[in-house]
Every structure is written in C-alpha cells, then in structure tokens.
C-alpha cells in the first residue's frame, strides 16, 4: 500500500466529492423519513443505511 506516495495531490473537489455525496444522502434520508410514510420512507431509510454500508465496505475490503 504505497500507492499514495505516487498519488498526485488531490484538489478539494476530488477530496470532498464522496463525503458531500454521502452527506446529501444522509440529509435527504433524515428529512424525507420525517415527512413521508410509505414507499418514500423506505427509500429514505435505505439512503440512511448507505453511509454505514460504505464504512463497512471500505474498512474491510482488504
């Protein structure tokens, strides 16, 4: 795991791309679950579980 030694410095856009995407997903989930019942509620619960799945995937991928 020395890939990062050769990695170009990443810019802010590259660094925050995924954190922002997951943050928006979380916010969407938190708010929609509050406003909606039924199908959209399930969608919002799914949205809220994605950050957890992302953490488990990256932490245990190798």
């Amino acid at each position: 795991m020395v890939t990062h030694l050769f990695m170009q410095n990443r810019n802010l856009m590259q660094i925050f791309k995924w954190p922002v995407a997951l943050g928006v997903l979380t916010l969407f989930g938190l708010i929609i679950a509050l406003l909606e019942d039924g199908v959209l509620e399930h969608v919002s619960l799914l949205a809220l579980s994605i950050p957890i799945i992302v953490i488990i995937y990256f932490y245990y991928r190798d």
Binding site: M7, N9, F16, L27, I52, V54, Y59
Partner: protein
C-alpha cells in the same frame, strides 16, 4: 498554512473539552434509542387487554374519575399517551398542578380501568435518561450539556475543514492499516468522521436545541399563552369545573382532522388557572409532533382561543424526532444505534490521537510532513 493551524487549534480544544461528555451521551443514548423495547423486555410495561378494534372509547371524564378514585386528595396534571397507541392513557397527578413529585397512572382508554401505576422516575432507564438529559442537575445540567453539544458541533465543522489537508495524498476510504498504529487510527478517525458527519451534526445540533426546551416552553407561555389567557388574568381561580370530555369535543369540532395528543389541566405549565389546555396533533411523523393548542374555559367548556404554535416551538418540536430517531420504526432505530457506535469510535480514536501525540516524535517522514501541514 496559518489558517489550517487555527482550525487545528479549534478542533483540538473544542473536542478535548466536550469528548468525555460526548462519550457519556453516546453511551447513555444507546439504550434510550430502544427505551420502549427495553421496557417491554424488562417486563416493566403492562399490556392493555385485547379488545375489538371497534370498542368505543370511554369518556375522558370517567378516565379522570378513575384516577381521582385512586388519589382523592391529588390533582390531575396531565393526560398523555404513547405515540401510535390508543388503548391507554397515562394520567399524572400531584399535590399541586406544578408538583414535580408526581404519580403516574396507566388507564385503559376503553374501560377507564386503572391498569398500572408505572414508576417513570426510577430504574435503569431513568438513570440513563437523567445522565443523558441533565446529569441529575436540573436546568443548569441541561444547559451545560447543551454547551458541550455546541462545542461538539464546532468540533465537527472544524474537523470537516481539517479533512482536506489529511486527504491530499490518499484516496477516499483508504485506511493505512499496515503502517503505524497511529496512521491507522488517524485514517479511521477521518474516514468514519467524515462519513457520519451530517448525522452527527444533525443529532448534535438538535440535542443542543432540546437542551433549551424548558426555556423555550417558558418563553412560549410568557408570550402566546399569556396573550391567549389575558382576559382571565384578574379573575379568581374557578371553583367549579366543567366536563373535560365536553372540552375535548369542542376541540375536535374545531380541528376535525387532528387527534387528541395530550391534555394540560388548569394550573400546569401548558395551560392557565382557568383552562384546559387541549393539544391536538396530526398523523404523519412530522405533524404528530406539531401540536395545535386549543384552550378551553375550564368552567364552561367553551373555546377561549387556539393558535398555531410559533416558529421557535416548531423548531423545538421538529428537533425532537431528529434527535431521538424514533420516527422510522425499528429500522431507523438500528441505523441510529450503529451511527451512535461509529461516533463512539470517532470520539475514541480522536482522543487517542491527541493522547499519543503529546510530545511524541513521529518517525515516519511522510507522516511528519502531512501532520505538520495539518497541525
């Protein structure tokens, strides 16, 4: 890099001051997420008898009469219920309307029979709740924890700023596990921290808002409640009370699409000496929280006033579900619990990073460079 240094200073001190309390809040919050389920498991909760869905509800007058027959010398303070539960009411009673040393009765909403006398103010869950809400120190404890929550919000924001300098050379989600323990800890802290950031921010901020609840309610009383009951200000307290069921019927006629959420009896914090405060709510997770107060003259059972709650009460009431995570069934509770555990890891790794770093020489040149950029 001067500004990064400032952010690092802000992150370090805001976190250091609040971390111990945040760990306590995460640990005590965990059982509170499942408060209802734990109550069932411990067998503390009595189940009302099963009856047909169409069984009519008893008159609220009979429910109150039942409560009074148990404690003839006490006054009724509040009648309230559990969300999504219509088979029983909780009635709180005390020596006076504002007595804190109160008793609770669980009364069947269909037969008006007393089912149980739950003790909400003792046991494991009560200890967890008090540690979480006010450290057994009342309003000062609440405001103190609110301040700690505010520091945590600052730590979250400064942490997000500091994320960038640490991530210039590694990819999103990369945890350098095979190098030093410190790098692994740093990457874990940054990765878990940034992915859970929005949730921690929302739960932290709504927790801070909740810490102000008593003051918000006090302000609402002095503001809108006082305006609504102004014509009664100089009247002597009523000696004869009208039927509470008649009052509920008036409120239901006024708001046919809403349900009865709770009743505040005369002299309590949510009514006046002269009124039944009848609080109605809707059916969706959101509208169930946004109460509509209907003030009923306690002597005549006629409508005095009813107003929409002001923005600050709305903000406070919306912040509750967003803090508790109790608006999406068991799935949301489990998500809340996992995110709570992940937050404990972020707090712990952050604390360890600081603890090990004190006066420590960093042997790895590359780490030293990236750390010196950030600190």
């Amino acid at each position: 890099m001067g500004s990064i240094k400032t952010w690092a200073w802000v992150h370090k001190w805001s976190s250091l001051i609040c971390t111990v309390f945040m760990l306590l809040l995460c640990l005590t919050g965990l059982p509170l997420i499942f408060g209802h389920e734990i109550g069932h498991l411990l067998g503390d909760e009595v189940e009302p008898p099963k009856m047909s869905e169409n069984t009519p509800f008893a008159s609220m007058d009979d429910v109150i009469a039942s409560a009074k027959s148990r404690y003839p010398n006490d006054v009724v303070q509040y009648v309230f219920k559990e969300p999504d539960e219509s088979t029983f009411w909780f009635v709180s009673m005390g020596k006076t309307p504002l007595d804190d040393d109160n008793k609770f009765l669980m009364i069947d909403s269909r037969t008006a029979k007393i089912l149980d006398e739950p003790k909400f103010d003792e046991g494991f869950m009560h200890i967890m709740l008090r540690l979480h809400v006010d450290l057994f120190a009342g309003l000062p404890g609440m405001l103190f924890l609110g301040l700690m929550g505010f520091l945590m919000v600052i730590a979250v924001v400064s942490g997000a700023v500091l994320y960038a300098p640490f991530m210039r050379r590694i990819a999103f989600g990369e945890i350098r596990k095979n190098r030093t323990a410190k790098l692994k800890r740093l990457d874990t802290h940054n990765f878990l921290g940034v992915v859970t950031l929005v949730w921690v921010f929302v739960v932290g901020l709504t927790g801070v808002v909740n810490a102000w609840s008593e003051l918000v309610v006090n302000y609402w009383q002095a503001d809108q409640m006082a305006e609504m009951v102004a014509p009664y200000k100089d009247l002597p307290p009523p000696t004869r009370f009208a039927s509470i069921q008649a009052g509920i019927d008036v409120a239901k006629k006024l708001e046919p699409n809403l349900n009865l959420a709770f009743i505040a009896f005369p002299g309590t914090a949510f009514s006046s000496q002269h009124h039944y405060g009848i609080f109605m709510n809707g059916n969706s997770p959101l509208t169930a929280r946004l109460y509509k107060p209907v003030l009923i003259d306690a002597q005549t059972a006629e409508l005095t006033d009813s107003r929409e709650i002001p923005w600050y009460m709305t903000a406070f009431l919306i912040s509750q579900p967003l803090h508790f995570g109790d608006y999406g069934g068991m799935t949301l509770k489990i998500i809340w619990a996992i995110l709570d555990l992940l937050t404990i890891i972020v707090l712990w790794t952050g604390l360890m990073l600081w603890w090990k770093k004190r006066n420590q020489y960093v042997p790895d040149i590359e780490t030293r460079v990236s750390l010196s950029e950030a600190y």
